[in-house]
């Protein structure tokens, strides 16, 4: 069963929100979950309304079924020092690197190295054992956006190409092995708009070419139409019968004017055009043949209650 869930999508589509809701959903089934962010943005702290997270795992929520959500904001610089110490027992030399700006330089100029460290930490947390069993039942990653997800997840493959032997090679192979295995699933968040859907399709193609596994497509901020298909068809063709509308409005006790009738029909047309576009985009998603989860638009925005609602939609 998949235990490592990687959440990506175009910027602003709801990656952080969806990752948080997914973590809550898993905790709701009684699981012990680690929610990880890797972009140094403190998005998790913001969404759970807690002070900025340090580079330490701490509990931020409790699930109804006795599960728990822990959160971690991975910091590449700190992870590098941790990593160097683990493999090279650097001690003072590590500090020297930091002092001359090498850590900063290396993690900035070689984005790949940053990704090695971030994925390394995720790997470590996913397989960590405590008291003879897994420390976390599931790990959910608020990952980089679609534009960078391929290089991010594949970086250890590149490393394996560079380092032919030795501990770095072994580590890289192990991480790649986990990311490509049954343990890992990638979830793509999208809106039913042209640009995010296009990015989703491109990302699926890219990730699958890298032998990575797609878990689901999460269609976020869905709105249900109050109009049925028949009404939508009439609206698009601008054939909403004015006489029926006028009569209906009177029956409803609304002060009727020609303008109001025309405006309501025009609003219905605009809406139907939008729905038409959304359906085209939905068809493009469905054509992928992946599992699709819909999450409703939360009209009041995202607070703890809304997150719980979204978590429930996840469980279906």
């Amino acid at each position: 069963m998949a235990r490592l869930h990687v959440v990506t999508g175009k910027g602003g589509t709801g990656k952080t929100t969806v990752a948080a809701a997914m973590a809550l959903a898993l905790a709701g089934q009684g699981q012990r979950v680690l929610l990880v962010e890797v972009e140094g943005r403190q998005g998790i702290a913001q969404i759970f309304d807690v002070p900025p997270l340090p580079y330490v795992e701490r509990k931020i929520a409790t699930g109804v079924g006795g599960g728990e959500v822990f959160a971690l904001a991975v910091d590449a610089e700190a992870a590098l020092l941790e990593y160097l110490d683990m493999y090279y027992h650097l001690g003072r030399a590590g500090k020297a690197l930091d002092k001359v700006g090498a850590i900063d330089f290396v993690t900035t100029i070689a984005p790949g190295l940053r990704d090695v460290l971030l994925t390394g930490k995720v790997y470590e947390a996913t397989r960590r054992k405590a008291h003879g069993k897994l420390a976390y039942d599931a790990v959910v990653v608020d990952a980089p956006p679609t534009g960078r997800i391929g290089p991010f997840l594949n970086v250890n493959h590149e490393v394996a190409d560079l380092a032919k032997v030795g501990p770095i090679r072994n580590q890289a192979d192990a991480i790649m092995g986990m990311l490509r295995s049954d343990v890992t699933r990638i979830h793509l968040v999208t809106l039913l708009e042209e640009m995010p859907v296009q990015e989703t399709l491109d990302a699926v193609e890219q990730l699958e070419a890298l032998d990575l596994r797609i878990g689901s497509i999460v269609v976020n901020m869905v709105r249900h139409s109050p109009l049925d298909d028949e009404a939508l068809a009439l609206a698009v063709k601008e054939k909403i019968p004015a006489a029926e509308l006028t009569k209906g409005l009177r029956a409803a006790g609304v002060a009727v004017s020609k303008e109001l009738v025309a405006t309501l029909a025009a609003e219905a047309r605009d809406h139907a055009v939008r729905v038409g576009l959304e359906r085209e985009n939905r068809d493009r998603i469905d054509a992928l043949g992946k599992q699709v989860t819909e999450l409703m638009l939360q009209p009041e925005g995202i607070d703890h209650g809304a997150l719980i609602d979204l978590a429930e939609e996840f469980r279906g």
């Binding site: 030399a93 070689a110 709105r223 139409s225 609304v254 609003e267």
Partner: protein, 371 residues
């Protein structure tokens, strides 16, 4: 609270550069393209530098060939002209190297693995190259008279501020202490280095391997000649952005995140002495029937549903109620923004039903921008 008059802006011959900025997805590219088209059709010679147009919009601007130079857009009316281009970040970087290094050195740099990493994925390179390209276009405009207005779109940064910070970050990375230290062995005797550096170097050697370290050093040594030039040009472009011939347009959607970014950005422009023309509040939901409120519309729909009468009317009333909720929410946020920034001219652009993907759509946005 004043209205932003964008026709006056694009008709003003003294304005030669317009920069659209704001957080991701708010409509920067759309606004840049729509203003470019409008200015051209009102007689100006315009070049629009887009960064990441949606596919169909790119097609309608003829941006199918990615050759990093402006091309005339077909179908533009009036007697001005409109050229458009899409930024190719890596290519722009390569061109800089080719233009400013000797052929042998350029070849060395272009083939270096660290250059490849820096030029294709360093966070901030895209922002930096947008500035570089703007500098180039400006030079060309002045020299050739091809254009009298340059409209620049900015990259889809997660934060609008990246655009102003990135060149500084890249420049300071390239001028940073560590790079200098890496250069030192190529230039001077090792013994001049501190123990810390020596230790750092030997650790790097151990971890990265001798080959990698040599690559870094070659890259740095070859790049060294470019440092001065990089810095100077970035400073020049930043100076250009402060001149009165430049106008910044901050684009925001009526959502809290985007408005917060827009606030930061306008404040930052003020601190930097960069000329802000105003804020475009894009994708604001509007209705022609605001006299029928969300509450009353919903109540009317329920009344019909209970009486089992005209389900079509009930559905349209529910739709209108949803819309009115959105209208109220959008305007509340937009008004709060305007009240908080009374000195900043603003203009609201309605959310269209359809995406903006052809010249007709751009003209419509142009009309809304200047209504």
């Amino acid at each position: 609270m004043s209205e932003l008059d964008l026709d006056a802006l694009i008709d003003d011959p003294a304005i030669r550069i317009v920069v659209t900025c704001g957080s991701g997805g708010v409509g920067k590219t759309t606004t840049a393209a729509a203003l470019g088209l409008r200015a051209a059709e009102r007689g100006r010679k315009v070049v629009v530098l887009t960064i990441d147009p949606a596919r169909r919009l790119a097609q309608s601007l003829g941006l199918t060939e990615l050759d990093n130079t402006p091309r005339a857009v077909a179908g533009v009316g009036g007697d001005g002209r409109l050229d458009a281009m899409m930024l190719d970040m890596k290519r722009t970087f390569d061109e800089v190297v080719l233009a400013h290094a000797t052929p042998e050195k350029a070849e060395q740099i272009l083939a270096n693995p660290f250059y490849l990493a820096l030029s294709s994925s360093f966070a901030g390179t895209q922002e930096y190259m947008a500035m570089e390209k703007l500098g180039q276009l400006h030079k060309q405009a002045v020299a050739s008279g091809d254009w009298d207005l340059i409209i620049v779109d900015t990259p889809p940064s997660r934060s609008a501020l990246d655009f102003l910070d990135a060149p500084e970050r890249l420049a300071s990375l390239l001028e940073g202490r560590f790079l200098r230290l890496l250069l030192a062995p190529a230039k001077g005797p090792f013994r001049l280095m501190s123990t810390a550096v020596n230790m750092a170097m030997s650790v790097m050697n151990k971890i990265l391997g001798a080959q990698v370290l040599t690559d870094v050093q070659t890259f740095v040594a070859a790049f060294d000649t470019l440092f001065g030039g990089f810095r100077k040009r970035a400073d020049k472009t930043v100076a250009l952005l402060r001149e009165p011939q430049t106008a910044f347009l901050v684009v925001a959607a009526p959502q809290n995140d985007a408005l917060r970014e827009a606030s930061y950005f306008t404040e930052r422009l003020r601190q930097e002495n960069m000329p802000l023309a105003g804020v475009v509040l894009n994708r604001v939901t509007n209705s022609e029937a605001t006299e029928l409120s969300a509450e009353r519309s919903l109540a009317a729909a329920e009344k019909l549903e209970e009486a089992d009468k005209s389900p079509l009317t009930a559905a349209l009333l529910r739709l209108h109620a949803d819309k009115m909720q959105q209208v109220v929410a959008d305007h509340k946020r937009a008004d709060r923004f305007k009240r908080g920034h009374r000195s900043i001219p603003t203009v609201e652009v309605a959310a269209l039903a359809d995406d903006v993907h052809d010249l007709a759509g751009l003209r419509l946005i142009g009309d809304l921008l200047t209504a």
